[in-house]
Amino acid sequence: MIVMRSEERTIESGPEGEAAIEVRVARREALGVALATSAYGISFGALAVASGFDVWQTCVLSLLMFTGGSQFAFVGVIGAGGLAAAPAAIASALLLGVRNVAYGMRMSPVIGRGAARRALAAPFTIDESTAVSLAQRSPRARRVGFWITGVGIYLGWNLTTLLGALLGDVLGDPKTYGLDAAAAAAFLALLWPRLRKRQAIAVGIAAAAVATVLTPVLIPGLPVLVAAFVAIVVGWFNWFAPRVAVRAPGEGAA
């Protein structure tokens, strides 16, 4: 969720003490993020059950899919449109998962060579592990940050998903507890850190408007997919481009 820049410098080697401190900082940050992120697995578990998934299906989503945005989108679309909306739900989950491709590309030099290591790293390649990793400076601290965040969230998220699913099962009507509003707030909270630049804000507003206008016209799930075209069109032609881009180099910071 943090804006990552590929030109970030890394410290290749340093005094022994400094390196150890960097690794310790990475470990502490990773554990903090893992704890905070894991906690909201409860809301995912409860929402999934409220949307018509059984406890096993809910747990499989967290075990295999393990990428929060896609998971919330998938159960949200099925919750609104039922099994008929399954193709749209799958497409929404996959499109939201596309950003993980970019994360994998950024993490691959951090993880290092070797097919086995990379295959092992792939499931843990998510917003948080990438962000914590790239916030570190030394290659070793970046590796530590990635693995502790990724594996830590994996363990916590799956545990809380199960708890939420079991809890959701006994709660009854999710609207009584405001779970539908919680889902909307969850999407907003995932979106929020990405709304720093003018282009992103414009795309967000336009996509929300498109999805709202199309809701009475299309079957549930499709309005969200059509709204994704806003991103493709704006991104392709680079409309609402950051003003910084047209200035002379050095005149403004991105």
Binding site: L61, P87, M105, G178, A183
Partner: protein, 104 residues
């Protein structure tokens, strides 16, 4: 398609996307256009999901307890509150408004 098939298809697809990143040469992301579209795609989908999750009830647009709940959530995000605080606050606001009968 059964619900189980949908779950497995979507989950394995998302897992494959994560793996794909490690196979794609880094030069692809250096090109500004794919990088830009990837970033904006996430924004557009999340924004559309916020709208639909807040306003849609089946094929209808409805203004109910979810709207004030989302406004509270936005206010808390402005105040830099954590994800968990924001999500719980939204649920509490909607639940209270319904309990009091002030909103559907």
């Amino acid at each position: 398609m059964t619900l189980w098939n949908a779950v497995l298809l979507a989950a394995i697809g998302c897992l494959a996307l994560k793996g794909a990143g490690y196979l794609v040469p880094a030069s692809v992301l250096e090109a500004p256009r794919p990088a830009r579209i990837t970033d904006l795609l996430t924004v557009a989908l999340l924004a559309a999901l916020v709208a639909v999750q807040t306003l849609a009830a089946g094929p209808h647009i409805v203004v109910d307890a979810r709207v004030p709940a989302l406004l509270v959530a936005a206010g808390l995000l402005l105040l830099r509150q954590s994800f968990l605080v924001v999500v719980i606050a939204a649920a509490v606001v909607a639940a209270l408004l319904r309990l009091l009968g002030w909103a559907a």
